[in-house]
Amino acid sequence: MEGRKGVISLAVFILAAAGFPWILTNEYYISILILSGITAIGVVGLNLLLGFAGQISLGHAAFFGISAYTSAILTTNYGFPVLAGVIIGIILSALVAFLIGIPALKLKALSLAMATLGFGLIVYIFLNETITLTGGPSGFVGIPRFNVLGYEFYSDLAYYYLVAGALTLVIIISLNLINSRTGRALKAIHSSENAARVMGINVFRFKLFVFVLSAVFAAMAGGLYAHYLSFVAPSSFGFHASLQLIVMAILGGMSSVWGGVIGALFLTSMPEFLRMYEELETILYGLILILCMMFMPQGLVGGLSRLSGYIADKLFKRRLK
């Protein structure tokens, strides 16, 4: 049952993703979709950690940053092929996640939040201050466009399909993991670590696994980001960015892989639309966040399904009368 619903959702998603560029032909919309898709890759990964395993990371943007900068520096300064740069960036992020995860994942709740937050800030400060390597606060420019085997994803449309493909891959991996013993182990850890241990689950290993996996997804997003914008700056990977990822996961709905996708799409595109209110943008953004959490505690995915349930209920009742 769970499986069939998953397949249908996936089919709908792939159709929608393939169809979007035909409906939204405007270049500007395509670029918003590309950025949403890139962010969604990271948020889906973070949601595996946060929504399924119940472990918080307030420094996740650091993994975006490590990979984006690694690939940017290797390709721009040292002439590495883009694919090699991205892969090395991902590997480096995974390694850092592994090393930081070993001590950090022994911590619980707010201490874990603080440790990951601290880690994220340290990476951010490092990116800001090692000016000879990273270009410092003003950023790193001239990063080549993503290309594989001589094919350059030059047009935004081509890049859109690249990102959509990567996101689909990440979603499929996540869905398959959730519907397996790994997914059950993660959910078990979320509700009771002790009970999970009693079931023979190596709690620490699974936490570390999902932490590294979510860092890998974030790093994938980081690589795609750097080679799309051709420019990276530390401010995209600071505390605010990490917070943004968390907010997207929660606002979208933590109990579903789709929540991350919807949260990323909503919160990446919303500021673009709020931009017409100029000065009021920040205020509106804060307000929407507050109202969404007050009135849709299950997130957008939960809110939508509740809304449809409510409507169905109303119609049904009216018919009874």
Partner: protein, 258 residues
């Protein structure tokens, strides 16, 4: 009682919490294939002993031997993999899962396949998942929850959540299961049914049972052997009949229970 046939041997267990001595020199055996009850007034250290046996907390001194292997300093999940599973006094049902998934989680290591198998949905994944699902349904049937398999676990009434924990803990086919007050919060009909399920677990599945319980009727009717704890020490051991006639036990209970 021959010590050589014991499946579980805890010898001279001491546990200190700060200045408080929760267990002082407890020696406890569970014979293979038997139901061994562990009783005692509140605060006697029963749950602490279960926690030490299953590796939730470390003992200050003493050793734990299971299937003649020393597991004194082994992590909890490895003890479980060795075939020792427990339930919890304050239900620890997995809240984000269905009833069936809860039970399937119990067989986490029995139907093993790798992360890559699940990512690529290999034939091995499907084969193992089907086996695991069948085993879980069979266990649900065993405890009488077959109709509720698809419900979210937290939608079950309290009594059925207790049964769910039982089904979950036998799904990995352990050799020893330790039950921490399984009848707490159950009415008399549910308790009677629980007694039958526990007896069947021993009888039909051949699983050794250690039972921590306050309900004396349940304890006396299904146990083969009873150990009584008071203030962190063993004050009596014997058959249900021995224990019922033991003066010290009666005093321990009258002295502290209302």
């Amino acid at each position: 009682m021959s010590k050589n046939t014991a499946l579980l041997k805890c010898s001279d267990i001491y546990v200190r919490f700060g200045g408080v001595m929760a267990l002082s020199g407890v020696t406890f055996f569970a014979e293979k294939g038997a139901i061994t009850a562990l009783i005692g007034p509140n605060g006697a250290g029963k749950t602490t002993l279960l926690n030490v046996i299953t590796g939730m907390i470390p003992q200050s001194e003493g050793s734990i031997e299971f299937k003649s292997r020393d597991l004194s300093n082994v992590a909890a999940h490895i003890r479980s993999q060795e075939g020792m599973v427990r339930t919890f006094q304050n239900l620890e049902v997995f809240s984000h899962m269905s009833v069936l998934e809860n039970v399937m989680t119990g067989a986490h290591n029995r139907y093993n396949y790798s992360v890559l198998d699940s990512i690529f949905k290999t034939p091995r994944y499907f084969a193992r998942e089907t086996e695991c699902r069948d085993a879980a349904l069979e266990k649900l049937n065993f405890v009488g929850l077959e109709k509720e398999w698809s419900l979210p676990a937290l939608d079950l009434p309290y009594g059925k959540q207790r049964l769910l924990e039982l089904a979950r803990s036998i799904c990995g086919e352990p050799e020893l299961i330790l039950l921490d007050e399984p009848a707490a919060g159950l009415n008399s009909r549910e308790t009677k049914n629980l007694g039958e399920v526990i007896s069947a677990i021993r009888q039909d599945l051949g699983i050794t049972v250690v039972l921590v319980e306050h309900d004396m009727e349940l304890v006396m009717s299904i146990s083969d052997e009873i150990t009584v704890l008071n203030f962190g020490q063993v004050i009596a051991k014997g058959t249900p009949r021995d224990i019922q006639n033991n003066q010290e036990v009666v005093e321990a209970y009258l002295g502290s229970e209302d």
